[in-house]
């Protein structure tokens, strides 16, 4: 589905927003301009709209005023700000683990467009020029990343990828982002863990020698690693002398002569250093399907985009229905999941002690806004990691979301049954369409905000609908803890 407001609302860095470091900012000049040009064309394909805007933006003769050119560009800058944000979130998501950054740290590199400054390109289509109030142009001091994305995109090529995907790839390729990721992305991983997790695709981008070194490292270190984890050794330790000796023998068979284990260790560390470059890990080609005939990338066929009409229910009817059932489903979901969790803890060998403290822990987190590392000693836990495993606010949220979705799904299926619309057996694609509709709704109403607020760093405020309901519930259930 197309949302035209993407052409006049820009996603930009915000200093005022308490929950996230970005905001959606309405650019009224862009809105006005867009409506003037497209008043009758709103149903045009996305690509046509973008090409038209770009034609204005790039028009180098005097028929279009510089101001109009720059505003057309502003519409496109608004548009690409969304995939840029999403790309940062995606990078965060893909890194996972105990990485020491969040997507918010990446935003300043790429989401640096203020949504106000008027920009056109110079004649060579290279440099960004600022348009002054008097309609003159001067070289821009701070080039915007959004403008670079638009500038480098091939609007006229029918086979090129979508502007969304282009923006995604450009964000991943952004030099500052890459530098940042090379510095902080793998900080939490020891050299050995890093060598250990390299896959074939990564080896391809290294020299033959480095690649052999890693393969030999894998064959010895991985074999022994299975036994170590078993014994409870968590961090990947330095390879010991015997392991290094064994590696030397294997390397010799491949005609790689390294004299001493000290030298080998040094070389392995050198390879690990290379692996800290983000470039090695991200894929070099865009993963759009490649068409041999035209020698170009074509758009990936998106998953079937069924509309609600196929569900035989009216949009309005579904919305009203979801709306009335939502809060109750959320409350039931919270109640059910917290009780599941307490039961599970009580049954666990390791964590049974904490079952009765669970609600208190939630209160500390959601009512008093304490961090997990501060909560841990309050509940008699040994570490942040233990607090995370036991309280796990993210997992709780995720499960409540599952239950809320399920309750709404049940209700909708019942509704359809009562209207004689259910198809038996239910088809996978049909179920998926239904689920996506419900998820889009619950996420927008509840979970998007709830997830963003627990993801936010310091000074976060937990006041989403989810947090409110959780507080109400935990206050009802709280038993005073003696100690």
């Amino acid at each position: 589905m197309k949302t035209l407001s993407r052409y006049w609302k820009i996603c930009r860095i915000s200093l005022n927003n308490e929950k996230t470091r970005y905001e959606y900012f309405l650019v009224s000049t862009a809105q006005k301009f867009f409506n003037q040009i497209f008043s009758s064309l709103c149903n045009s394909p996305e690509k046509d709209i973008q090409t038209t805007l770009n034609d204005y933006f790039n028009c180098n003769n005097s028929s279009v005023a510089k101001i109009d050119r720059s505003i057309a560009g502003l519409c496109l800058r608004c548009y690409v700000s969304y995939p840029i944000l999403k790309a940062c979130q995606k990078i965060d998501y893909l890194f996972a683990g105990a990485k020491q950054f969040t997507y918010e740290d990446l935003l300043p590199f790429v989401l640096n467009d203020d949504g106000k400054t008027l920009i056109v390109l110079d004649k060579n289509n290279k440099n960004q020029l600022m348009v002054t109030d008097k309609g003159q142009t001067i070289t821009a001091t701070y080039p915007f990343f959004t403008v670079d994305v638009v500038r480098t995109y091939q609007f006229d090529s029918r086979t090129s990828m979508s502007l969304d995907n282009w923006a995604y790839l450009q964000t991943k390729q952004n030099r500052e982002i890459k530098n940042f990721l090379s510095e902080f992305g793998f900080q939490h991983l020891s050299d050995w863990a890093l060598l250990n997790r390299a896959r074939l695709l990564q080896l391809e981008s290294l020299s033959t020698r480095s690649s052999h070194l890693i393969k030999v490292f894998h064959s010895v270190y991985r074999r022994d690693r299975v036994k170590q984890q078993h014994k409870g050794v968590r961090r990947c330790p330095d390879p010991n002398e015997a392991q290094l000796q064994e590696m030397l023998v294997y390397l010799q068979k491949q005609n790689i002569i390294i004299k001493t284990t000290v030298e080998l260790l040094k070389e392995l560390k050198q390879v690990a250093k290379q692996l800290r470059q983000y470039d090695i890990w991200s894929y070099r080609e865009p993963l759009e399907s490649y068409d041999l005939d035209t020698d170009s990338y074509t758009l990936r066929a998106d998953l079937p985009n069924n509309s609600l009409n196929e569900l035989d229910l009216e949009e309005r009817e579904v919305l009203e229905f979801l709306q009335t059932s939502l809060v109750l489903a959320l409350r039931e979901g919270i109640e059910q999941e917290i009780s599941n969790r307490i039961t599970k803890l009580a049954k666990s060998q390791k964590y049974a002690l904490f079952a009765q403290k669970f609600i208190f822990g939630l209160q500390l987190y959601y009512c008093q806004g304490m961090s997990l590392s501060k909560i841990a000693p309050q509940l008699g836990m040994t570490s942040w990691d233990q607090a995370r495993r036991i309280l796990n606010p993210g997992d709780l949220l995720s499960k409540v979301r599952t239950l809320t979705t399920q309750k709404l799904l049940d209700k909708i299926l019942d509704l359809m049954k009562s209207k004689g619309l259910t198809k038996v057996p239910l088809k996978p694609d049909y179920l998926k369409t239904l689920l996506k509709r419900i998820e889009a709704f619950v996420d927008e109403e509840i979970f998007q905000e709830a997830a963003a607020e627990i993801k936010a760093g310091k000074n976060r405020s937990l006041d989403s609908l989810y947090a409110q309901q959780l507080r109400i519930y935990s206050k009802q259930k709280a038993k005073p803890i003696k100690e």
């Binding site: 074999r223 890990w281 997992d395 799904l409 057996p425 239910l426 088809k427 179920l431 993801k455």
Partner: protein, 350 residues
């Protein structure tokens, strides 16, 4: 204010499904990989697979406590599996997905005994002692994708598939498991029974000679699979082509019963051994139609006229198919397409 269009699916970028591994998981995984692993790197992959499997089991059990989950004890180097109810889950374990590439062994898609209803991508962070449920794909979606695109390149007998092809919402796996009938995701079935015994002798009629297809000769009336995608028939679905097999399609006209619309009977033959041929039969809609009309029957008959297999289209079936069967060269059989009492019968010789 949040603009809803920009947020589709983005919640999952903020909220991953992380499964914490405990000491007992590592012990079990070690035991499993020792059962299987011979060569070191395969052993490591099996170890990761086992950790992924245990993580997935924990995840599913936690969310669907009422259903029993079974591990496929026949662990393989390529993939390991869970079974819950009628569904089979294949585990694809990987150390990381920074390259957004999912590596899937070709065999687990092609071989009926190795296929699964769902292929689940799990990122195993061994050092952090956690498994992340990244995404999954239904078998039918995977097959559709492979049919649509130029086959992605193979590396070490594996497909390199884009992560974006997979469904990043783990909840969908739960809901599929709870709300769907396993038959709605049909898997190819390994032919354990040899139907050839029933396909004896001769019938004096025009018979399509399937063994000739394998030499590149299609009988009259049959269209090559390439031709089937011309404007006339324009099959929406494009079957995969491969060197060892031959495909041919025939337009079947059931006249007024289908309002003049035609369907395509698609026969696929493979050389099984020098004497045996494997046959698959599928029925597809043509033209703009996405679905077959309901109640369309596809039946396999022995030479003696005994019905050996039958399948019937339901509401919104994209296609229907018979289980693949095998027979010796020279044997006869028939396939019939029926709509209520109107039938079209095709006779074949292997």
């Amino acid at each position: 204010m949040v603009d809803s269009s920009s947020n589709s699916n983005s919640l999952r970028l903020l909220l991953s499904e992380v499964i914490c591994l405990e000491a007992e998981h590592f012990t079990q995984a070690k035991e499993i990989s020792e059962q299987v692993g011979t060569e070191v790197n395969l052993g490591w992959q099996t170890y990761l697979n086992a950790l992924g499997l245990l993580g997935l089991e924990e995840w599913l059990q936690d969310r669907i406590p009422t259903q029993a989950i079974h591990r496929d004890t026949n662990f393989r180097e390529t993939m390991c599996y869970l079974k819950m109810g009628e569904f089979k889950y294949g585990v694809i374990a990987t150390e990381h997905l920074l390259d957004e590439v999912v590596t899937v062994p070709k065999a687990v898609i092609d071989k009926p005994e190795l296929v699964a209803h769902f292929y689940v991508v799990l990122e195993v962070n061994e050092e952090q002692e956690q498994v992340i449920f990244r995404s999954f794909l239904r078998y039918d979606q995977l097959i559709n994708y492979l049919a649509k695109v130029n086959l992605p390149k193979l590396q070490d007998g594996c497909y390199q598939l884009p992560l974006s092809l997979f469904d990043a919402e783990p909840n969908h796996l739960l809901f599929y498991s709870c709300y769907l009938d396993a038959t709605t995701i049909s898997l190819p079935v390994a032919s354990t029974q040899d139907y050839s015994d029933n396909l004896l002798e001769q019938l004096p009629k025009t018979r399509t000679k399937l063994s000739q297809w394998l030499q590149g000769v299609l009988d009259t009336g049959w269209l090559s699979w390439e031709t089937l995608f011309t404007a006339e028939t324009s099959l929406a679905w494009s079957p995969r082509n491969s060197a060892e097999e031959a495909k041919g399609g025939k337009l079947i006209n059931l006249g007024i019963q289908l309002g003049g619309k035609k369907v395509v009977l698609l026969i696929t033959v493979n050389t099984e051994t020098s004497q045996k041929i494997k046959v698959g039969a599928q029925l597809y809609p043509t033209g703009e139609e996405k679905y077959l009309p309901p109640d369309l029957k596809l039946t396999l008959f022995s030479k003696a006229g005994k019905a050996l297999q039958e399948t019937q289209s339901r509401y919104q079936d994209n296609y229907i198919q018979l289980k693949p069967f095998k027979g010796e060269k020279g044997k006869h059989f028939s396939i019939e397409v029926c709509m209520h009492d109107v039938c079209v019968r095709e006779d074949f010789e292997l």
